[in-house]
Every structure is written in structure tokens, then in C-alpha cells.
Amino acid sequence: MNWDRVKEKLEILADAAKYDVSCSSSGSKRKNPDKMLGDSSGMGICHTYTEDGRCVSLLKILLTNHCIYDCLYCVSRKSNDIKRAAFTVDEVIDLTIGFYRRNYIEGLFLSSGIFKNADYTMERLVRIAKKLREEHRFNGYIHLKTIPGASNELMRQAGAYADRLSVNMELPTVSGLKLLAPEKDHKEMIKPMESIKNDIIQFRSERKLIKSTPKFAPAGQSSQLIIGATNESDLEVIQTSTSLYKNFNLKRVYYSGYVPVLAHQNLPQLGTPVPLVRENRLYQTDWLMRFYQFDASEIVNEKHPNLDLEIDPKLSWALRNREFFPVDIQTADLHAILRIPGVGVKSAKKIIAARRFGRLDMKTLKKFGIAINRAKYFMVAGKNKPLVEWESDNLRRLILQHSSSKYRGNFSNQLSLFS
């Protein structure tokens, strides 16, 4: 290997790929009975964390950052004056195997700028995945980004080698896409998701009948929405992700706070802080929908189109729905316990398991990992007195006084971003 040349390419093509926030290596069970290289247990592993606190699980690179498109939000856009590079197929393979054998990574996340056309680009990505699997007996995780406009046949091949496929929506609204990526068509972007979804369903049902049917994208598909590049509301973001989860059976929708990389009249000014708090609140909302039995419309709706940045969305919901509380932890069902602010899924299950043995007091609940400073106002437990008669506004103030948000310094400038 030409170490210096590969190092230079790696620096350029990892830098270009890093704005894709997906790092998940979970959801795929690959056993390894035939002494191949690698396995995955279904649980991902973060092998390290960058200084921005993000997990590094996969070797996340672009095959090339040459691109025929000129999307305003993207560093690799055609008109941007940056260094360009392209890996060869074998360079990507050597890096993946070399890193994997040293336990640096769970696998490869390969994406690419679009060169020549969609099929040409997609064919290269598929070729790398195929060679890894067939020639190098690589059994680790592979995530391929699919290129909108690539043929269904290539998409199907990609699914045969990859654990996960993703199509990035990037902009949560159709108008945002028109504004920042006028060459791209909303419908064209949705098409591959539809095709992947149908293939997944077809392969699954065939596998039920014939065990030897090969796996197809066993970790499903995911997508990403950029937050804060256009003036979309949280309601619009959540509506888009809800429809993605529902219509295309997506495993994950990622939210990527826009990092200003270009001065342009249609974009937030350079130097605008990355909307980290908003990104966090959107993920919390996403979790409430996926793990806490919340419906999207309970959290954001026409009346409340934006998430409260100062408090988490569950607390926000609780303060708007005081009639639901207090919840008695000795008798309430899981659904109701999950709605208590400060109670997570694990603690909720612990409560259900432990209360069969007797009454649970506040001290014990605290040891379960419950955030008592929020939960105590909403639940009946031990000698705890929930503040049922307090006005929500006062309660909100009280809770804020007794908590310190790690994001406190970020509030002022973010709230006024588009006003």
C-alpha cells in the first residue's frame, strides 16, 4: 500500500463523509460458524469517540468526493473549491480489513459523491461490498448509501451484500429541497426507499418458506434529515420522519444539525452555531415515538409546532397534560409509567418487576436511575407528595430552577435563529 497517498485520500474522504451522522452498526445478526472474518451480535459497538463526543463504529468514508450535483448544504458540491480525491476499490478493501482485524471498527459505511451518473457510482459501491464478502470472506457490518436514481437491480445487489442501506432525504421539506438542491427531485429520492422496502418484505417472506433464501439488508434501511439549514418547523421534521418510519419501515431516521460551511443568501450565516439542543430534542422525540408509546401528534402539533428547547419533550407533554397525573407506581401499567418525566424504559421495567415483591419507596426508585428531580412532581410513591395543585407554568419554573442543563449556554442565540 502507498501509505502516504492513502493517508491523504483518507483525510479528504473521511472529512467529506463525517456530516453523515449515522454510525449505527446494530440490528444485524451475523454468526460466524465458518471461520470467516467477523461477526455481529445485533448490538453495535462504539470503538472510540471523537472529540465532539460522537461514536466511531464504522469506517465512514466516501468512495470519492467528486460530484456532479451542486447541493448548497453539502461540502462536496460541484462548485465548492476543495481538494478532490477518489479511492480505488482495493484501497477501500485494504483499509476496511486492516482496521477491522485490529478491532478499530465494526465495519464499513461507504457513501459517495455522484460521478458520471447514479448507476455508475452505485455499481462501484456494490462492487466493493461484493468483493469484501466473496473474495475476502468479510463477515462484519457493511452500510451502503444508495444513490438516488440507481437501477432497482443494483439496489437489489446492494441489499444482498450490505447489512444496511440508506437513502438520505437531507431536507425535511419539499420546499427546502427546491431551495437548496434544485437539481434533485423529491420523488426521485423517495423511489429507492420504496424499492428497498419492497425487496426487504419479499426476501423476508421467502425466507419464511425457504430457509436458504439469502438475507437482504438484515439491518434494514435508515435516512438522515438536516436540521436548521432551512426554516422548517419541528412539526414538519417530525411529520417527515413519521411518514418515513411508517411508509418505508425505516429502522432509524437521523437528525443532523446543519454545520454552516458556505456563505449564501439561502443558508444560515457562517458562524451560526450548530443547533445541538434542537437536534437533541428531536432525538428525544424520536425515542418517545419508538420506545415510549407516544404518538407524534402528542408531542408536536399545529398548536405546538416547535419543541421546547429548555425542557425535554416528555416533561413538556406532561406539563400540558396534567390531568394524566399523578401516576401511582404501585398500580399503574407500563404505558402510564413510561409517561412519567424522568423515568426511562429500563427503570419502568424495573418498577414493574420489583413492585410484585412489595412497596417501593423514593430511595429505592432513585437507585433505579430515575431522575427524581423531575419525576417526583408526577408520581405517587412512598411518602412522595406530587404537586398536583400547582399551575404548570410555576411547576416548569420550579423544575428549571432545580436542574442545570448542559446546554444552558446555547439557548439565547439559537432561539432567535430565524425570527
Partner: protein, 255 residues
Amino acid sequence: MNQVVFENTFDGLLTSVFEIYAQKLVDVDLIPEGNDCELFFRKKVRVATDLEKSRRVQDQIIKYLGKNGLKSLWKATLTETPTIGQTIFEVIRYMLQRKTNVLADFGNPSVLTLHEALKKLSRERHRMTAFVRFQRASDGTYCAIISPDFDVLPIIADHFKSRYADQKWMIFDTKRKYGIYYDLKEVYPVELNQPSADLTPSGSCITLDESEEGFQNLWKSYFKATNIASRRNIKLHLQHVPKRYWKYLTEKAKD
């Protein structure tokens, strides 16, 4: 107050539990050998390990807690906390009182302490599956050094055996001075300075493969390039990668 001193193994601990019931000892304090001290006015019982007695206790545990429950109790001893024996004894005693699977009773202080120990252990185990950094030796063996908070080698062996089935590897725990070695077939415990035919001289991997430095540099470059400076969050970074693990992380090594 009775002080029961057991040989510091799982069987040793369970033998002591057996003796406590057989001798009808009350108000006991279970202490692993080496952690005991001379005390006045206290009866001290030293228990020698007896596999048959341990097995009988294990049968009782399996009866109420299942095989997984037994495994959990064993795992908890890997934390090496001096008081873990006492905690396990209390859980067994509570189990024999209630005659049911008390591991679900998170409200019981001993059960909760046990779960907390298991949680810490599982976190350390997970970290070691993540933070092990193999270096390729000239003979093709991949070697790593760790010094985990707990004795996790017995519970990470399967993970590495399944994942790196087609390469020889060794992971050495410098704190506990033993390692595990995989020879493409099985995983064996190894001790340093014990010459073995399949290992490089002196039992450790010393001469590195010529590609090793190149890959380490690439990994460092990748680690830097994939960071987003405008999202810098050192507090979160340190929470995920505490400093005590840095010494073995390639990407954290100084250039």
C-alpha cells in the same frame, strides 16, 4: 458476629454458604482470604473449598434462579469487590426465604447491590470489546494489552473467538498478569514469560509486522479527520472514553 473466611473462588464462596447453613451460623460476615484481619471477640471460621458442597448450593440456586441466575452470581465475583461475597450470600439467603426468583426484586438492597455490580461489570466488558487494540506481530498473531477495572477476560473470550475466528490473537491483562490466546481453534489462558511453542519469544508479541505502523498512522489520521470541530464536546468525549483507557488506544497515542 462470625467472620467466615473463604478461598477466593466462586466454589470457595459457595462452600462457605453451605457451611453457614450446615453449622447454623448467624450474624455472619463473609470475607475473601487475604482481606480478613484479626478481631477480638469475634469467631473466625476458615472454610476450605469443597466442590461437592459448592455443587449442592449451585443446585439450589439453579432451582430458584435458573442457570442464568447462577451465571449472574458467578459473574458478579469477577468485579473482585471484597464485599461481593457477602452480597451474594445475602441474595442466596433471601432466595431461600422467599423460595422464588428474587433477582427481579430490585427493591431488595442486596439484590440491587448485585445488579449494580453486574451493571458495572457489563459496562467494563463492553468497553473491552470496544477498546482492545490489536497490533499485528511479525508472525501474524494479533496482540493486545489491557488493564481493565474488573477481571473481564473470561467473559470477553467468546466475543473475540467468534469475531476473529480466522486470525491468531492474544489479549493480555497486565493488572492480573494473565492473558487469553486463540490458536485458530480454541482459546487458552496464558501467563507471561511462560514460553509456548505458538507464541513469539517470552510469551509476548514483540516484533511488529511491517504493516503495523502504517495502519496505526492511518487510524490516527482517520480519527482526526472524522471529528467535527464546530461540534467539539470534550465533556461528552471524556464520559465515553475515560482517560484511564487512553494508554492502550492507538488513536490516543502521541505521534
